[in-house]
């Protein structure tokens, strides 16, 4: 049917290398999510604070993260920052770019989640003698994280997909980078990237399944 011979064996022979790449992809994505969630909580606090400067910083962070391409943010972390004489390795730039993006989107999710939590709860906490920060930490934040669990799962999937952009700043240890390097060696573009696509698909499915199981365990009423 096609005037093309598929060479799946060549691609499958490189599967171990690609799986190593998948591990790096997972690593970067998980790290960026963990730091991203922490930063997003801080950004949420900044936005709630009465200080104009703090809420200004948080708002600009969120708007820039949400209104420019992730690829641009990774470029900025690599080439933009380099103009100040700070040179990050591709791995660090990728992590910084994705984390910046994650934190912005998650902060926006958290803001939506906050709307669903009645003000009276924080006030009740305050009248029981908790400080403002304690009321946030013990009453508001746990509910906020619970409500935004599903968006967080989606963001995690996005983080996995975004790691493929690392190749543009010279990353060659993640799944996409490894595949690209193998492609340069073997020229089996279609077969190699098809295998990479299957791995990416499986990773996202595993994450979604894991999140569902985790949610069932954590959020039993």
């Amino acid at each position: 049917m096609f005037n093309y011979t598929f060479q799946w064996k060549q691609a499958l022979a490189r599967l171990p290398q690609m799986l190593d790449g998948a591990v790096v992809t997972m690593q970067v994505a998980l790290l960026s999510m963990a730091i991203g969630i922490a930063l997003a909580v801080v950004l949420t606090l900044f936005r709630l604070s009465r200080s104009r400067i703090l809420s200004g910083i948080a708002t600009s962070w969120v708007e820039i993260a949400r209104n420019t391409p992730a690829l641009f943010q990774i470029y900025m972390a690599h080439f933009g920052v380099a103009s100040f004489g700070i040179h990050f390795s591709p791995w660090t730039s990728l992590l910084l770019g994705i984390t910046f993006n994650n934190a912005g989107y998650l902060a926006e999710n958290f803001r939506g989640a906050l709307k669903a939590i009645p003000d009276t709860q924080a006030r009740a906490g305050r009248s029981l003698g908790l400080s403002e920060l304690q009321a946030f930490r013990f009453i508001v934040m746990p509910q906020m994280l619970r409500i935004s669990f599903l968006p967080m799962t989606n963001q995690m999937v996005w983080a996995i997909l975004m790691t493929s952009l690392g190749v543009t700043v010279g990353m060659n240890t993640d799944l996409y980078g490894v595949t690209q390097d193998l492609n340069a060696l073997t020229f089996r573009t279609f077969e190699l990237f098809a295998v990479a696509a299957v791995i990416f698909y499986l990773i996202t499915k595993i994450i979604q399944l894991g999140a569902r199981l985790l949610a069932r365990r954590m959020f039993r009423y």
């Binding site: 209104n67 080439f79 933009g80 493929s164 996409y176 990237f193 990416f200």
Partner: protein, 217 residues
Amino acid sequence: MFDTALSANDLIFLAKGAGMTIFVTLIAVFCGTVLGIVFGIFRYQVGPVIAAPLTFVLDVFRSIPLLIQLVLANAFLGMVLRLGMSGLTVACIVLTLYTSAYCAEIVRGAIESVPQPVRRAARSLGLSWRQDMTNIVLPLAVRVGLPSWIGLSLGVMKDSALVYVVQVTELLKSTQILITRLQEPLLLLMICGAFYFLISFPVARLGGYLEKRWTHD
């Protein structure tokens, strides 16, 4: 930073890149929305079992990095089928399918948000399926779906930055070409980022405004 080798010609080059970004985005959003509406209605209409293959394919588009979709499509159309398509065509096809995958989800959610009794009431008043769809479901579903659709369109604009892998010189790629020549990454990236921001931010605000307004009445 202020004495720069950036010339008027370079700005025209950037503007061309920006034009390409907008062009690809408009095509992908338009065709993707049409396809997405068809897929969304189909999935809602035939139920989860019959629509399972379509659901799976659309899910694949949402679970694989766009970069890989573009490379794969380029390799398949170019090396396997040998169609000799231009990179721009491949980019438009892939982005269209990518958009439709997300759009189908939005459409299905929006249709499902219309309460069943409302639709049954419409049908029992003698409206045909089509009349029910256009006069009852459409106005109600648009209110639910439009804010997400605006978000999707902006997302596609941002994701269109990746079509450089199939040799389409859009805004970010032209910025990169200029960076290689002028060696002024910060200034050029700022211009590029400002462009994306200036398009995306007002539209995102509009989406937020519509969402707020429509949920209150």
